[in-house]
């Protein structure tokens, strides 16, 4: 196993894996919201079905992944379009911090 232990490599892995998870979740998300086509009762029925704690945990995970992917994407675009080559490692750390903060906010508000 080659040595790839450096912050921007970790940031790449986080970006790719979060993107993969979000891409696979997307059709599921659209299917769930599509319940609204059958009326308010159908959507409400689905939402109550997801009140289980495991779903809440999954929701929290998805929110964190979304925030992580957003922050990671902004870092890459800052490099690509603005040429911000300095402080890439700080930006990667900031992205992780941002995702955790969003996750915390979610936990504080959920319930």
């Amino acid at each position: 196993m080659p040595d790839r232990r450096h912050p921007t490599y970790l940031a790449f892995l986080a970006h790719r894996l979060s993107g993969l998870a979000l891409a696979l979740f997307l059709p599921l998300h659209f299917w769930a919201l599509g319940q609204a086509l059958q009326g308010e009762a159908a959507l409400e029925g689905f939402l109550r079905w997801t009140d289980h704690g495991l779903f809440k945990l999954a929701e929290w995970g998805l929110v964190v992944l979304l925030a992580l992917h957003l922050a990671g994407g902004l870092r890459v675009m800052a490099l690509e379009f603005l040429g911000w080559r300095a402080r890439q490692k700080d930006m990667a750390a900031l992205g992780a911090g941002f995702a955790l903060a969003v996750g915390l906010l979610f936990l504080l508000n959920v319930g």
């Binding site: 196993m1 080659p2 040595d3 790839r4 450096h6 921007t8 490599y9 790449f12 970006h15 790719r16 890459v76 490099l79 690509e80 379009f81 040429g83 080559r85 890439q88």
Partner: protein, 244 residues
């Protein structure tokens, strides 16, 4: 005197295995010193490559304890704690000729495919131009080119790049860095063809900015930013309908 254990991958394109050697652990010795000592004192048939020994020629790169490095400027004590072994392998992502010597041809073929040679604008037939080109050293383009021209072609970035492993056609950080220096050379007349050559999945658009190239470049260059520059140029060219 303390001993240093050195595990060296020995074999050829068909395969190979590690062989263990022991040398004296000295206060000041580079990885290349150690390899040379083993070749001279213990294993005359050991194949490896070096020339200048002072970080200029780019021929001595190997994988040292999991990381591609220039071995002539890598001190053993910087990469192995006292008592820890050295593990040496040939540079990854290139065909092995024998032992620690890789075939660098595919690496430099990629430079050619990225149009890494200067194409004079004024004298396309290769003749000497009538007059000197005026290139202000402080201009943005010149500074971009200057940032990348100290490459010694050692292949460390190419060996450290995952995209090269995942897509063997990918031109890699060194060739793309070279292309970016020429894209910023106002004397060059082959910009449209070069930008086309570095575009797409085999070119800059496969780079995921892991920045392993920048992290590992022994010369402290930043190929990752050079590739970002190519992406930026091609993005605006595509969006505004410019061709070169």
């Amino acid at each position: 005197m303390d001993r240093l254990t050195v595990r060296i991958w020995r074999g050829d394109a068909a395969g190979g295995a590690f062989a263990a050697y022991e040398v004296a652990a000295r206060e000041n010795q580079t990885v290349l010193d150690v390899v040379s000592e083993i070749q001279r004192e213990q294993e005359p048939a050991l194949a490896y490559r070096f020339a200048c020994r002072v970080g200029m020629c780019g021929s001595c790169a190997m994988e040292v304890n999991g990381r591609a490095r220039w071995t002539c400027r890598t001190h053993v004590r910087r990469v192995a704690r006292p008592g820890e072994a050295l593990t040496l392998r040939p540079l990854p992502h290139l065909p092995v000729i024998r032992d620690l010597a890789t075939d660098m041809a595919p690496f430099f073929d990629k430079w050619a495919r990225a149009m890494g040679s200067f194409q004079p604008k004024d004298a396309p037939d290769g003749a000497v131009p009538e007059d000197f080109a005026v290139v202000p050293p402080g201009s943005k383009a010149r500074r971009e080119a200057d940032a990348g021209i100290e490459c010694i072609g050692c292949g460390v970035c190419h060996a450290s790049c995952d995209v090269v492993a995942w897509n063997p056609d990918y031109l890699g950080p060194a060739a793309l860095n070279r292309a970016w220096t020429l894209v910023n050379d106002v004397r060059d007349g082959a910009q449209a063809a070069r930008l086309a050559a570095v575009s797409g999945d085999a070119g800059c658009h496969s780079c995921h900015s892991t920045q392993s190239c920048t992290e590992r470049c022994p010369k402290g260059l930043d190929p990752s930013s050079a590739i970002a520059g190519l992406k930026r140029r091609l993005f605006w060219d595509a969006l505004l309908g410019r061709r070169g």
